[in-house]
């Protein structure tokens, strides 16, 4: 589903955030992406959604070579990727409901379908009672969960999460991680970037470790067992 082949990313400032990264995440697979702060985790996720273009190497997402994807096709790539951002990126002048509905409105869904799906997504993150609130009135953790509901609301085949549990207490964080596992169990390809190694070590799944832009570890826990 996601193939990185000798991918490097050099920012315009000259800083090389990713160096020769190789991995293959199969459809329906789940992996954690860890590494110190500044290792390049966010950069790697942004390359997949074409928020940034890689400098060298090839990236293939869902069979599509990103290097050959014309600009006008980028929106359709992004509709197949649910993305959760480190800084939430909510619309503060819209209600929680409208924030979560955004990918569906963009995708041209019918209003009744939108209502049904938004409710279901908010229910999954435990925020159904907050649908009429504005994000500014929510706690950091609640805002993060709005972002998660928005990412999964249109049931994308790929889910990318950048530090999704950063502001959550350990119990809630565990719930959210379990939610990702459940998504993965129904066939979604999931890639979660996180610092919280302690939180994920009990989850049996693949771990990609970045250090200074290089992929220094790719452990299939199944093999280690």
């Amino acid at each position: 589903m996601i193939i990185f082949n000798n991918v490097s990313k050099r920012y315009p400032s000259g800083y090389e955030a990713l160096k020769q990264v190789n991995f293959h995440l199969k459809a329906g697979e789940m992996a954690f992406l860890t590494g110190h702060s500044g290792a390049g985790k966010s950069t790697l996720l942004r390359l997949i959604a074409l928020i940034e273009r890689n400098t060298t190497g090839q990236i293939v997402v869902g069979g599509q070579h990103l290097g050959r994807l014309p600009t006008h096709r980028i929106p359709y790539l992004r509709r197949r990727i649910g993305m959760i951002f480190q800084d939430h990126r909510l619309l503060f002048d819209r209600t929680v409901y409208d924030n979560v509905a955004l990918p569906l409105v963009i995708g041209g869904f019918r209003p009744p379908e939108i209502r049904r799906r938004v409710r279901a997504a908010l229910d999954k993150v435990g925020l159904l009672n907050k649908e009429k609130s504005y994000p500014i009135t929510l706690s950091g953790g609640e805002q993060q969960r709005v972002g998660i509901a928005r990412a999964v609301v249109n049931k994308p085949p790929i889910l990318l999460a950048d530090e999704p549990t950063g502001n959550l207490d350990p119990n809630l964080a565990k719930d959210i991680m379990n939610l990702f596992v459940h998504f993965n169990q129904v066939g979604v390809t999931v890639l979660v970037a996180t610092h919280a190694v302690g939180l994920i070590k009990h989850i049996k799944c693949r771990m990609l470790v970045l250090q200074h832009g290089g992929l220094i570890g790719d452990t299939h826990l199944r093999m280690m067992r």
Binding site: P75, G108, R110, V186, V188
Partner: protein
């Protein structure tokens, strides 16, 4: 977040048929929603929006009003054009009887369809009403005005008219004989000139409208930069992002058009009375032409269309610069 074991969500891959079913009237719903949301956004900042609409309104009202004024002049001169006439100012010494005889003689001629006699008393009365020198004129002992004959020509043929004029000029009773066509010709030439001026003015003001709307939309785009970025992150196409701004531009243009319509109507309403008095003086049934239904619609449509185009130009230039981080 206490949940029973998560109910199995539907598989992520939707069949193409199912995804197609979600379109259809969703498209229309989305367009209408965007249309009214963008209007709501304009209403949310009433004062700046009104000011923008006012500028557009004034810029539209100027050429529309001038054009209408020209229409009126054209209308008026057309009314006169068909009935070419010659004014004969008789000598002071010519009295009523002689004037009447002259009129009868003129009426015999086949080139002449009618003769109207204006007596010095009538002329003075008229002048008194028109000039407002009522008191001063009453103080005059003798009426200084001569008899005037207004000769209506039966033909619009200018050669025949010229020959008749030459003949009349030689009559001893007549002090001055003049063709009223001459100033009409000058008027026509002037109308043509002014019309060109109005077209130039209209083009310049059209440009102004485009710039005003373009600038307003540019500001709106930068105010909603974050929103645009987030929309792009979730797969919004350029068309989707462009749409609310285009509609906003259309609304501004339409509001400007409405304001222009009101302004033009107000100005012509102010002119109505003076024009009525003037046309009475000229024995004319002239009625001021105002914006009819069709030209009203054209004005509103022009406003809306200019708004759309202005927004399109602004959006095309500035949306490209905004890419999600």
């Amino acid at each position: 977040m206490k949940r029973p074991p998560v109910p199995p969500p539907t598989p992520p891959r939707r069949s193409p048929k199912a995804s197609q079913m979600t379109y259809g009237n969703a498209w229309l719903t989305h367009h209408l929603t965007t249309l009214f949301t963008s209007f709501g956004q304009i209403l949310r900042t009433p004062l700046p929006s009104l000011m923008t609409a006012m500028v557009i309104g004034i810029a539209l009202a100027l050429p529309a009003g001038l054009y209408l004024l020209l229409e009126n002049v054209q209308h008026l001169s057309n009314e006169w054009n068909g009935t070419a006439q010659i004014s004969l100012f008789l000598k002071q010494t010519v009295g009523e009887e002689k004037a009447q005889n002259l009129a009868d003689w003129l009426l015999q001629k086949k080139e002449i369809s009618g003769v109207q006699i204006i007596t010095p008393t009538q002329a003075l009365e008229e002048y008194r009403n028109l000039s407002g020198f009522g008191q001063a004129l009453t103080a005059l002992e003798d009426n200084p005005l001569p008899y005037v004959l207004i000769v209506q020509l039966a033909t619009a043929n200018t050669d025949l008219g010229e020959r008749l004029l030459e003949e009349l000029k030689r009559k001893p009773e007549i002090e001055v004989a003049q063709f009223d066509m001459l100033w009409l010709k000058r008027l026509f030439a002037m109308i043509a000139l002014v019309r060109r001026g109005v077209i130039i003015l209209a083009s310049l003001l059209t440009l102004a409208v485009l710039l005003v709307i373009g600038n307003t939309i540019r500001l709106a785009i930068y105010n909603r930069r974050e929103e645009i970025e987030i929309h792009k992150l979730f797969g919004a196409t350029d068309a989707f992002i462009r749409r609310p701004f285009l509609y906003a531009g259309g609304w501004y243009g339409l509001l400007g058009g409405i304001i222009a319509w009101l302004l033009v109507h107000f100005c012509f309403w102010l002119l109505q009375d003076p024009v009525k008095q003037l046309s009475l003086l000229y024995y004319s049934q002239f009625e001021l032409v105002t914006l009819d239904l069709l030209s009203s619609l054209a004005l509103l449509l022009t406003g809306g269309l200019l708004g759309l185009i202005g927004a399109w130009l602004a959006v095309g230039r500035h949306l490209k610069e905004i890419q999600p981080r």
